[in-house]
């Protein structure tokens, strides 16, 4: 399988790309067939992407998330997993398409990169690293989903549209995405703190990326409470999901691009 990685990557990309118009056609035409096609394309792409991830993991002997290619590949996988969870379980369909678009951008940008698996340096050779990375990317993917649901909620609020899901459903799904993201990100932070302690001798670092990860965590802990306050329910919550994703994007991309950090790959 690994010998054909570039071809498989292109097929995965094509599956996700094909799902996009099918979802849009289902949104406008409301024919069941388009939805079946869209979900099938997504599931095929995801099955292939998971198989390739598993093959790379087996080949390397560790979860390969130690260079730009593999982190983007893994993040893309986490985004699709999140999307499929919400779509298969709650039929969010085109309301979650923004996640599919980010995924296409991510996957599209790795198609030209070298998929070779790098050797594992001893500082990354710990299960804490694997847990840290898995939970951080799946957490980020949940926050991206919450962002999408927040955007759709606001569109529905300001430009009501019968085709869009009911605002109460959107609100509940948004709260769920935030809660799941917070739980995953908490596990990511715990693993990161223990790892920092055994590697550096302290569990909290003032290094900018670590500090911003803590800020992300605190922000979403706050959001887990905002839903209990009447004034913040619904619209306020949707705006907070947008703001939160801005903080996530700055932590994931902004720091790497604008400032230097000792976490260049996450």
């Amino acid at each position: 399988m690994l010998a054909h990685q570039p071809v498989i990557l292109n097929i995965i990309f094509a599956c996700y790309l094909a799902a996009l118009p099918c979802y849009l056609l289902h949104f406008f035409r409301h024919k069941r067939g388009w939805r079946v096609l869209a979900v099938s394309a997504m599931l095929t792409g995801f099955a292939l992407q998971s198989a390739l991830l598993a093959a790379r993991w087996l080949e390397a002997g560790y979860l390969p998330v130690t260079n730009l290619f593999s982190t983007q590949y893994f993040f893309s996988w986490a985004l699709v997993l999140t999307y499929l969870y919400f779509d298969v379980r709650y039929r969010v369909g085109s309301s979650g398409l923004f996640v599919v678009v980010i995924n296409l951008l991510l996957l599209g940008s790795v198609l030209q990169r070298d998929p070779e698996i790098p050797i594992l340096i001893p500082s990354l050779d710990t299960p804490l690293f694997t847990i840290h990375i898995i939970c951080s990317f799946t957490g980020y993917a949940m926050f991206a989903m919450a962002f999408t649901l927040g955007v759709i909620y606001l569109i529905n609020r300001y430009i009501p549209n019968k085709r869009l899901p009911d605002p109460v459903v959107l609100r509940k799904l948004n709260e769920e995405a935030i809660f799941l993201g917070f739980i995953l990100f908490s596990i990511c932070m715990i693993a990161g703190c223990i790892w920092a302690y055994i590697a550096w001798g302290f569990y909290f670092s003032w290094e900018i990326k670590s500090l911003w990860s803590f800020i992300v965590w605190l922000f979403y802990a706050g959001m887990c409470h905002a839903k209990f306050i009447r004034r913040w329910q619904g619209t306020g919550y949707a705006w907070l999901s947008l703001l939160g994703f801005g903080v996530v994007l700055f932590t994931y991309l902004g720091i790497g691009l604008l400032l230097e950090s000792s976490h260049p790959l996450e």
Partner: protein, 353 residues
């Protein structure tokens, strides 16, 4: 409706979710602003990770009060937020028979309280020391832990094919007096941990420890501190000290740097029936007269180097509590996850304030 007493109202405020959101938002905003200052003032904040926070704050407040005030404010906000969360948790405990279903959520709160408490404790009472040098076989006092020593029994750097250092294998023993407290093979991600002390490996290096010299009648010998040479005719030459780079102040030499620039030996010469001589021998100058008198000629041939391992020795009395907090948070998260779906399937909505 019953009127609340002042203390009841105060308790409500302490447990208030709205207060929590205000405190958390303010702390987050200060942390966001401050983190950018950290990035743009590396000279001020460069050693923030290598010094316990309280010590750092006191030292930095003397010279940079205008730049670091935000850290004081953020610290106070976090402390208040931690206390607020603690009150919220205690309030839950008081009403546990009515609210036991929230076990997961409140374990998360307890975890956070423990974490914040541990962080403040470690920041006040911990010690941090970077760059402790350990030479194979030597006993090195552990900074911040009077009476304890680290002994490096074996050291081996691990290099990649292209010569890049990958790891460092340190067979380490922690001792108090003669008794062994802990022994481990420390390497990257495998520290030596004993109670609140954690020793992590950082790097390694080489330092000049002496010289290989040619002494007529004795041949090639190693001049390193601790070495005793028997001279023909019954005398003894002892190496007391070696400084790889030293400067002279009057007749005394003091160390200037670790690099091999102006090497100097301190020697002691004893000969039967004569007063012992003790003095300095700078390798770039003439051999001291008493040595010439004793017929000792020394031709330095090449420097001798010793490998050392560089470790960090931190003491954090709060680390165990922080771990307990992490475990509470983890267990709480898993329980909360389960109960989230169970409650939702029952249509159980929490109280809205």
């Amino acid at each position: 409706m019953n009127r609340l007493t002042v203390s009841q109202r105060l308790w409500r405020l302490c447990c208030s979710l709205k207060l929590a959101i205000v405190l958390a938002s303010a702390a987050t905003l200060f942390a966001i602003g401050g983190s950018l200052t950290i990035h743009f003032h590396p000279r001020i904040y460069g050693n923030l990770d290598t010094t316990p926070l309280a010590q750092w704050l006191l030292a930095a407040s003397r010279d940079h009060a205008g730049e670091i005030w935000w850290l004081w404010v953020t610290g106070v906000l976090f402390l208040l937020f931690g206390l607020n969360t603690l009150c919220c948790f205690v309030d839950w405990l008081i009403h546990i028979n009515l609210r036991w279903r929230k076990l997961g959520e409140y374990l998360i709160h307890l975890g956070f309280v423990l974490f914040v408490g541990a962080f403040f404790w470690g920041s006040l009472a911990g010690t941090r020391t970077d760059g402790v040098r350990l030479f194979v076989g030597a006993l090195t006092p552990v900074p911040g832990n009077p009476g304890t020593y680290l002994r490096l029994d074996h050291f081996e750097p691990v290099m990649s094919d292209n010569g890049r250092p990958l790891d460092m294998i340190n067979q380490l023993t922690l001792l108090r007096g003669e008794s062994v407290l802990a022994e481990t093979v420390a390497k990257i991600n495998h520290p030596l941990i004993y109670k609140d002390l954690v020793v992590t490996v950082m790097s390694f290096g080489q330092s000049a420890k002496g010289f290989q010299v040619l002494i007529p009648n004795l041949g090639m010998v190693e001049l390193v501190p601790g070495q005793h040479l028997r001279l023909p005719g019954g005398g003894r030459l002892e190496v007391l000290e070696f400084l790889p780079d030293a400067v002279r102040h009057r007749n005394q030499w003091t160390a200037r740097s670790e690099r091999l620039v102006d090497p100097v030996f301190r020697l002691r010469l004893t000969r039967p029936g004569l007063e012992p001589w003790e003095g300095w021998y700078p390798l770039r100058e003439e051999i001291p007269f008493p040595l010439i008198q004793a017929g000792v000629r020394i031709w330095p041939k090449q420097p001798l180097f010793a490998n050392y391992s560089l470790v960090r020795a931190n003491r954090d009395p709060g680390a165990g509590v922080a771990l307990a907090g992490g475990i509470c948070l983890l267990i709480g998260s898993l329980i909360a996850l389960g109960s989230f779906y169970r409650k939702r399937s029952r249509g159980d909505r929490p109280e809205i304030v």
